[in-house]
Symmetry: D2
């Protein structure tokens, strides 16, 4: 039973910096793109237009092992390390072929938009946690 999701990506020119490599802040975007592709893979979207739910990030961290260059093809492997009542913790591995690029984590919390526009933490709907359950690492 698959408990991870794989997202393939190529480095774009505007994602590099003067050091000739992908800027580290963009590596965080790669993780998020993989997260959202994982959601799509089970028929979900993390940001429904006009939807009630949002997923503010609680924390994010990465360790960088090797750089990515322009036009490099790489993959992001996503797993869910913890799927709790209100929060999700993702784990990510970035690889270019057999070369380790980076590892990372992102935690987020389920929130609903209040009438005044502010977000309030709430429980993850069953429909969502049910569909994401297959990615939870055991």
């Amino acid at each position: 039973m698959p408990s991870e999701f794989r997202y393939a990506r190529r480095v774009q020119f505007a994602e590099t910096d003067l050091a000739g490599i992908v800027h580290f802040s963009t590596m965080f975007r790669y993780m998020e793109e993989a997260e959202h592709a994982m959601w799509r893979s089970v028929g979900l979207t993390i940001a429904e237009r006009g939807g009630r739910y949002g997923w503010p990030r609680l924390d994010a961290a990465m360790e960088f092992r090797n750089p990515l260059h322009f036009e490099d093809e790489f993959e992001v492997v996503v797993r869910i390390a913890a799927l709790k009542t209100r929060t999700i913790q993702y784990e990510f591995v970035l690889r270019r072929g057999q070369t380790p690029i980076a590892t990372g984590v992102i935690s987020c919390i389920c929130a609903v938009k209040g009438a005044d526009g502010t977000m309030k933490a709430t429980e993850i709907p069953d429909e969502i946690s049910g569909k994401l359950a297959s990615f939870v690492t055991r």
Copy 2:
């Protein structure tokens, strides 16, 4: 009577690309930052939280003369070339000291958000056009 606005900026590391210069798409962001600073200078904001109005871009164009490098200090000069019933056309000049960097134009239209979330063109409120009038080139 001043008919232009000046915005000072420094190039940040993440704005450069592997060619060692600011990516051309970021030059468009510099123009927009100057536009918004111009609005603030007369007590306006282009995106009020919970506000009704939006300003979708109709077109944008730039000509590039010289590159910008990391930590370069430059200025963006903004003028309003045309302030019409529903649209604004801005003109921009980017300079690093006496060195010409780029020139550009952005046109945008005043829009209100409908109940279904789509934007619909409308007339620019008098309060806004009145405050921006001093920047119109004659």
Copy 3:
């Protein structure tokens, strides 16, 4: 004989802004991504590591017709409007299905890196212009 190239793309979360649509500066990045994919399709890269050539942009322009939203799938159609001794002018059409999103142009010039790091305009190598010739609109 094909004289255009098609590049498929999906909108990512970080490419949207508070108006809920793709920021206009990112639309310029979409055009450039399509340009680079076109080069790859004929065995070229626009930025060889350690290579001599660079392709500074001379100008860029877009007209925006309809917005793009998160997770929208769209395509960028690229043609070469003019392939001259030193310069290339691209034309772009962005579409989401049958919905027109934007049109644009980018002009760039072939340059070689001098010993002092500055770029100097030069003639486009035959190997490159030969491979790009099939995309020139007649």
Copy 4:
């Protein structure tokens, strides 16, 4: 004797996402901007044109407490938690007035560019560690 550096910044439109707040990847850019401003404050630059040294990031992490919105003014407080032979560990606090926004860390390593373009770890030059010493937390 001051052992921290303060960097003032305003949120720009293109830094927000469809949730109406600054995208979390941009928060990492804010930390880096503050780092580079700290270097400038003691007469250093982290990326000298044609220079030998680079500062690849080893890891980066943030915890997010409150969101930033368009045009928010905030400050980034930077300290150096550890200044070692080859590495620097920074600590960051982001605040909007008295409101905590985020905290973070970035570690980087001093590297020299080899003839083949790859980076190799090396000792931090005395001139640099001397100038940064005043920011080291004791």
